[in-house]
């Protein structure tokens, strides 16, 4: 144990779970604890019971029916996950307030919850084996900060106040200097203290090593643990969610754009990640209500990305080609192949384990060794992968360990009957997918009904006729095949719906984008000017428009051909884009004409910005084939005035200023105020029109 953690512990002020949480921790500290006791303890806390049932129902369920009781939830999630989830929730319940003035306990838990919900969703999408535990690990991944705020309220409050925007690593350095231990170490020690899994502690410590100096989690550790990836990604999404949602806010924009790295780490493209992020929002709102915590969800990830794309800010987030057959959640789907899957004929009755398919794994449970040997022998002769168990308990353990597709079990067995085995299997996530065949020498109507009620799929009479047994197994294989195809088709359908959404958005973006320069086109420019014009009237911010026209462009086209003309247009677009201010919007109006919209610009700043553009274009020669010349542009600047009635007046004013710049010799800036810009005197003509 870290010596400083021991000191923190001895103060008795560390965050601690509720009474129910504490009882659960004590009860489950040994491996052989009684399940019934765990369930009773959870039941004693109605709020906790509801939350555990909720998380069991929101976990990836593979078509399982919803659970309604704590016992069912415990069976579904497993005791380990229930223990972690109970601890996490009981900590939220009892540690919402403190005396550290500048440490906002509410915001701390809101951020933690957002991280946890994001991690839970990502865990489900990436088929992480235990989403509920990942939820808790994420919920508590910063609990060291809470602990320091509880033990040293005044000193930690001062540290927080003085380092409000500091990245976590910098904060940790200050903490270590002040307390001899940082919040990462406290988190890890607390997790160990509460008996949480070792991998949780590992995540806490690796996060400390995994932060770069800006606090953005971007470095690649070369195959870090999967849980760490999820927590790191979830935290990044939560930071975006809890940010300003102002595209102009460079810090938040940077966070948003870094989601691309999150997608890369999780093996999915940026657009798929954005749609997942949007799916996290309602889930977070739901959890916020259940736990009674305020949550901040901002806006739509996909819409924001589209807006950034329009403004030319998001190029890093979009792939240039739209590839549909991309890896998603570890599987590759091709468009329309799901229909082929469905159309493929099923195996004929006498054809088991079709060519190229792995043989079905069958578990046979039978307490009579002779019958077990016979059943296994018949199945092995048909090349099935056969597992055998001579008791129900052994069968249960093999079934959960090896997940066979088919289980064939005797009915009457000592300890646990075959029917009870089937009931138990049906309550587990793995067992819910198995095809269960019961072998029975009974077979009256009552028993048949009882068997089907217990979740059995089929039965075989005893003594069994080998041909009937194998025919039933064949039917089981076909049912499994059908289900798997339906599931694959459903996954493919969902994938296609997502792709369709992405495609629609891209088409919409394409309709507003100029194909040659990839800048927003005239349609977008007009729509945007209208929006900004209305915004200007609402908030009183200034609005300037600059129209840029390439000088003597006709000569380029006439002398060097249209391909050279296109190269000149692309080059000028690039230079203009590179020198346009982040808050300005550059669009191609058509031909050799561009427009720059500047929100909040004064006449002077607009002219200065225009001059910067003019100089940038002039400074770089364009090379294409025989063409190797510097081109120049003329710019007309206009700023909105109270006399202007519509935005058309503003554009018209900028157009007139441009005309003036052309008239005055080109390669210059003129403003609608009448006088040329302050630097225009220094400019000179290079070409004639």
């Amino acid at each position: 144990m870290h010596p400083q953690f021991n000191e923190l512990r001895l103060t008795g002020s560390l965050p601690s779970p509720s009474a129910a949480g504490m009882r659960i921790l004590t009860l489950t500290s040994k491996d052989d604890f009684a399940y019934d006791e765990l369930i009773k303890t959870v039941l004693a806390d109605p709020a906790l019971s509801g939350r555990i049932i909720k998380i069991a129902n929101s976990a990836y369920r593979d078509g399982l029916p919803p659970v309604h009781t704590v016992a069912q939830a415990t069976m579904r999630l497993g005791a380990r996950a229930v223990r972690s989830v109970a601890l996490g929730f009981s900590l939220i319940a009892d540690n919402r307030r403190g005396t550290a003035k500048d440490f906002d306990f509410q915001t701390y838990w809101s951020n933690s919850l957002a991280t946890a919900v994001a991690v839970h969703m990502l865990a489900q999408v990436t088929r992480f084996p235990d989403p509920a535990s990942a939820f808790t690990c994420a919920l508590l991944c910063d609990v060291g900060k809470l602990a320091l705020a509880c033990v040293h309220p005044e000193r930690y409050s001062d540290i927080i106040s003085a380092n409000r925007d500091a990245p976590d690593l910098a904060l940790a350095k200050v903490e270590a200097r002040e307390f001899g231990i940082d919040h990462f170490e406290v988190t890890s020690e607390l997790m160990a203290h509460w008996g949480l899994p070792g991998e949780f502690q590992e995540v806490a410590l690796l996060r400390a090593m995994d932060l770069d100096s800006s606090g953005d989690d971007v470095s690649d550790m070369g195959g870090p643990p999967e849980l760490l990836d999820l927590v790191r990604s979830g935290r990044q999404i939560a930071r975006v969610m809890n940010g300003s949602w102002e595209i102009e806010d460079a810090r938040w924009r940077g966070l948003f754009l870094s989601l691309q790295h999150v997608g890369e780490e999780l093996g999915m493209d940026a657009d798929a990640l954005l749609s997942i992020c949007d799916a996290i929002v309602p889930s977070l709102e739901d959890w916020g209500q259940i736990i009674d915590l305020p949550v901040h969800t901002g806006g739509s990830f996909q819409d924001t990305a589209a807006e950034m794309e329009r403004r030319g800010m998001r190029s890093a987030l979009i792939s240039t080609t739209f590839e549909i057959g991309v890896d998603f959640a570890g599987e590759t789907y091709e468009p329309n192949h799901f229909q082929e899957d469905l159309d493929r004929p099923l195996l004929p009755l006498d054809s088991f384990s079709g060519e190229g398919q792995a043989p079905s794994r069958i578990l046979v449970v039978e307490d009579d060794p002779q019958m077990l040997r016979l059943l296994a022998h018949h199945l092995k002769r048909k090349n099935f992968d056969v597992l055998t168990a001579s008791s129900s308990s052994e069968g249960l353990s093999l079934a959960l360990e090896h997940s066979p597709q088919i289980v064939i079990t005797d009915w009457m067995m000592p300890e646990m009957s075959g029917i009870d085995l089937c009931r138990t299997l049906r309550r587990s996530q793995a067992g819910a997918r198995m095809y269960l065949i019961i072998v029975t020498a009974c077979g009256n109507d009552e028993q048949v009904v009882e068997a089907f009620d217990a979740g059995v799929d089929d039965f075989v009479g005893k003594p069994f006729n080998p041909r009937i047994l194998l025919a039933r197994v064949g039917a089981a294989e076909r049912a499994i095949q059908l289900r798997e195809r339906a599931e694959a088709a459903e996954r493919a359908r969902l994938r296609q719906v997502t792709e369709l959404g992405i495609m629609t958005r891209k088409l919409r973006a394409a309709a507003l984008t100029d194909a040659l320069t990839h800048l927003p086109n005239r349609r977008y420019a007009m729509k945007r000017i209208k929006q900004e014009w209305e915004g200007m009237h609402r908030n009183g911010r200034g609005l300037a428009v600059t129209i840029v026209d390439i000088d003597a462009f006709k000569r380029v086209n006439d002398q060097f051909g249209h391909d050279t003309g296109d190269a000149v247009l692309r080059s000028v677009a690039l230079h203009l884009q590179a020198h346009t201010r982040g808050s300005d919007v550059l669009c191609r109006l058509g031909g050799e004409e561009f427009i720059v919209l500047s929100v909040g610009g004064t006449p002077a700043t607009a002219v200065l910005a225009a001059e910067r553009l003019r100089a940038a274009v002039e400074a770089k020669a364009v090379q294409h084939g025989d063409f190797h010349e510097a081109v120049t542009v003329s710019l007309g600047v206009a700023t909105a005035t109270p006399e202007m009635e519509t935005f058309d007046d503003l554009i018209k004013a900028a157009d007139e200023a441009l005309y003036k710049a052309k008239e005055n010799g080109r390669n210059r800036v003129c403003s609608a105020a009448g006088a040329a810009g302050p630097s225009s005197a220094s400019q000179s003509d290079r070409h004639s029109a």
């Binding site: 009579d368 018949h378 002769r381 020498a441």
Partner: protein
């Protein structure tokens, strides 16, 4: 009625190596003790594994002896549940080694166990089953010796 545990005299008819012959019991009214077809099925199922038939028969004999002892104890103590369990298990396993008459007797015994008023039939049928097992055991051992 054959007394429990009384040794049987038996004959094996047929000349196809003994294993596929019908085996008759003089003590059972000359009925078939082992069905040759079932034995053939087991042989065929074993394929190249020549030990398979022997293994199945030995498994039956080991398990059968235990079950019949249970059945016997159940009959002596009039514990219907024990008799039923044993009869139920033997009904299926004996059929797979061709002991069809014995299997039918076990089925009959199982049905009697499920009746509310079993009367004397339960004990009588039980004793018959125990005696028949002895015949089956002897016949199977003879088959093993021949193989």
């Amino acid at each position: 009625m054959t007394p429990i545990g009384k040794p049987m005299t038996m004959s094996i008819s047929g000349d196809s190596g003994g294993l596929s012959a019908h085996i008759h019991s003089p003590g059972n009214g000359g009925g078939v003790i082992l069905d040759a077809n079932a034995i053939d099925v087991l042989k065929e199922l074993g394929g190249d594994d020549v030990e398979f038939l022997t293994e199945i028969i030995e498994l039956f004999l080991a398990e059968g002896l235990m079950r019949v002892s249970e059945m016997h104890a159940g009959l002596e103590g009039l514990e219907t549940g024990r008799v039923l369990q044993a009869a139920h298990a033997l009904k299926s396993s004996s059929a797979h080694v061709g002991a069809v008459e014995f299997s039918r007797c076990c089925a009959e015994l199982e049905s009697l166990c499920r009746l509310e008023d079993q009367g004397e039939d339960l004990v009588l049928t039980g004793r018959r089953a125990v005696a028949m097992y002895s015949e089956v055991q002897t016949a199977l051992k003879a088959l093993l010796a021949l193989s």
